[in-house]
Amino acid sequence: MRRVFEALARVVDPRTLPIAVTILLFCALFGFGSVMYTGFFSWQVLLDLLVDNAFLLIVAIGMTFVIVSGGIDLSVGSVVALTTIVEAVLSEHMHLSVWIIIPIVLLMGTVFGAVQGALIHFFRLQAFIVTLAGMFFARGLCFLITTQSITITDPTFQKISAFRLNIGVGSVSANVLIALVTLAAAIYVAHFTRFGRNVYAVGGNPRSALLMGLPVAHTRIGVYALSGFCSALGGAVFTFYVLSGYGLQGQGMELDAIAATVIGGTLLTGGVGYVLGSLFGVGILGTIQTLITFDGTLSSWWTRIVIGALLCAFCLLQRLIERHAKSVTRAGGTGAVATSGHGHAHAETPAPKPDSQVLGRAAG
């Protein structure tokens, strides 16, 4: 049994196994829907997954960078809400053009994220607590600006919202194009730039990254700024999607974004993950929602239960891979691992990461 597992592990690299499982699961879910429900297997249903989840994809991309760097960002949902409100107020009350509003909100999101990153880095605060405060702060700002829902009547907004590009027999909205451009840019940044490599290095082992002379401060702050930027862009896209601004928008979106990232194969301990995985993570969340809509007899709360179950399954898979990687290194006998005590309940300890992972990553 063990030999079989090891042979399998050689075929499927531990770093790519989660993403392979994710893609398989996405295909399986979509195939299941196609077999079970008439009209499910169509190009338009596939495209609609993107149309309805473009904002989530953009937010999840930012979250992927944060989680790869070993942090977490709980403020994304409320930044999305803040963006919709600011856009609505600037458009409806100040009558500014879309082309002025968008840069303003993007700058706002980036600065918001950068401030959080600076607090986390310079004061050595827990990312969880700082972004939690950020979440309260942004949500509170929303309600301070207005507690009403503001409908956007600006013609340019409506034109962008109604825009459709035909692809084959289906069509996609402008939001999808924005999301795909963001995805392409994010993949480039993650894998082909110095910043991207630094993010993986900091996530893998911050102390080593610092000793190697990598700009840890820039990277950490940059990652949260990027997440803030993505949240604001996601908020802008969400505004095009619903054409209104409301302070209760995007509640729980941080959970969806984290779930999509984890299901997409990003390790929560940092250092391992692919931006492309998050695309499939979002795809899986979207497919579950579509399946439940197509079924008609299942209620909406099943979405949350299924997402929770999937999240659980993927976390268990991650633990399994970690343990396996560790046992392989132990057999190889580096010795250092035996004393690291990483297998204990408190994986959050700042204690050294399992060296196997670091070694594996360095080798790859």
């Binding site: 607590i129 309260f136 509170g140 959970l255 209620s299 659980c312």
Partner: protein, 347 residues
């Protein structure tokens, strides 16, 4: 054993200085706005007044926060408590709704069911954290995501009204002139403090928080203790769920206990319990919960829009964590000394 020793073993009164000062300042602010803020009067043999109101409304938060205190002391975190509150309320309401006029036995059954459901939820978290070895934030995130779905599954997506007088008494009734929920919270806190600080359990929990590996190597059954701590957190969340559902006379799977986990973490942090584990104080946590509730009361009484509470809370969380952070202190010291040097040169 002295009561004060039960409440805090390390740091003593100094650790509680800041929370006390904050609470006193808030009360002072309220007194400025409303000179009768601390006045109590009796109506139908019940005590009424702002302090009683604050205590009454803070009771669920206190319950959740003492569970959270122990979890955080082991270097963990439990972000599923809000969802557990919803599940427990939903479970009790579902059982109560099976009879038009619920009998006493059914009410007892509902209460027990809610507690058992909460305990099971906490144990699920405990298994994931201590035996599977997941990061606490992720392990409890799973239940946070799925929990509200489960609560809505129980209530079939409806808000179930609760009419049983015996059940409503738990969260809305009075005993000896003081609200029942305050009694329940007090008894729970004293029992927990006696259990944890009266035995070696408190020491074990602190040891796990300080150095989990060493604790295990010493021979403590740290996995079992961590498991029990998460189970306890689920139990206290269920008690809070009973109080909340009884107080609002309904169970709402979607909104009951929304953002309660954040308030609980805030209360624990305000009370001086370190998020890095190994140090906790029940008295601090209770003060923290009272501060949060007084803050909410103050924003209403001053006439600030209630939405601003969120911004104030954010500022308080940041201020407290920056004050707690050693890096910030070092930065402040070096800044101060450079300032002194600079002045010296200028002279």
């Amino acid at each position: 054993m002295k009561l004060s020793k039960w409440f805090s073993r390390d740091g003593g009164e100094r650790q509680l200085l800041w929370p006390c000062v904050t609470l006193a300042l808030l009360c002072g602010l309220n007194l400025l706005v409303n000179p009768h803020f601390l006045a109590l009067r009796t109506l139908d043999g019940h005590l009424f007044g702002a302090p009683i109101d604050i205590l009454n409304r803070a009771a669920p938060l206190v319950l959740v926060a003492i569970g959270m205190t122990l979890v955080i002391a082991t270097r963990g975190i439990d972000i599923s408590v809000g969802a557990v509150v919803a599940i427990a309320g939903a479970a009790a309401a579902t059982i109560l709704s099976t009879q038009a006029v619920p009998s006493g036995a059914l009410v007892a059954q509902a209460l027990v069911a809610a507690l058992v459901v909460g305990l099971l939820s906490g144990m699920w978290n405990g298994v994931l954290v201590s035996f599977v070895g997941m990061q606490p934030i992720i392990a409890t995130l799973i239940l946070m995501v799925a929990g509200r779905g489960i609560a809505q599954l129980l209530t079939a997506g409806q808000i179930i009204p609760i009419g049983a007088p015996a059940y409503l008494f738990v969260g809305g009734g009075y005993w000896l002139g003081i609200p029942c929920s305050v009694w329940i919270a007090t008894v729970a806190v004293l029992a927990t403090a006696a259990l944890v600080e009266g035995t070696a359990l408190g020491l074990f929990i602190r040891a796990i928080g300080v150095n989990p590996v060493a604790t295990r190597l010493v021979g403590l059954r740290s996995k079992a203790i961590v498991f029990a701590v998460y189970g306890f957190s689920g139990l206290t969340a269920a008690m809070a769920g009973i109080l909340i559902s009884s107080n609002v006379r309904s169970a709402d799977g979607n909104n009951a206990g929304l953002l309660l986990e954040l308030d609980a973490i805030l209360a624990v942090t305000l009370g001086g319990t370190s998020l890095l584990g190994g140090r906790f104080s029940f008295a601090g946590t209770i003060l923290g919960a009272l501060i949060i509730q007084t803050l909410t009361y103050t924003t209403y009484s001053i006439g600030v829009p209630p939405e601003a509470t969120l911004v104030v809370k954010a500022a308080v969380v940041l201020a407290v964590s920056v004050i707690q952070s050693p890096a910030a202190r070092a930065l402040a010291v070096s800044f101060g000394s450079s300032l002194v040097k600079h002045r010296g040169v200028a002279r």
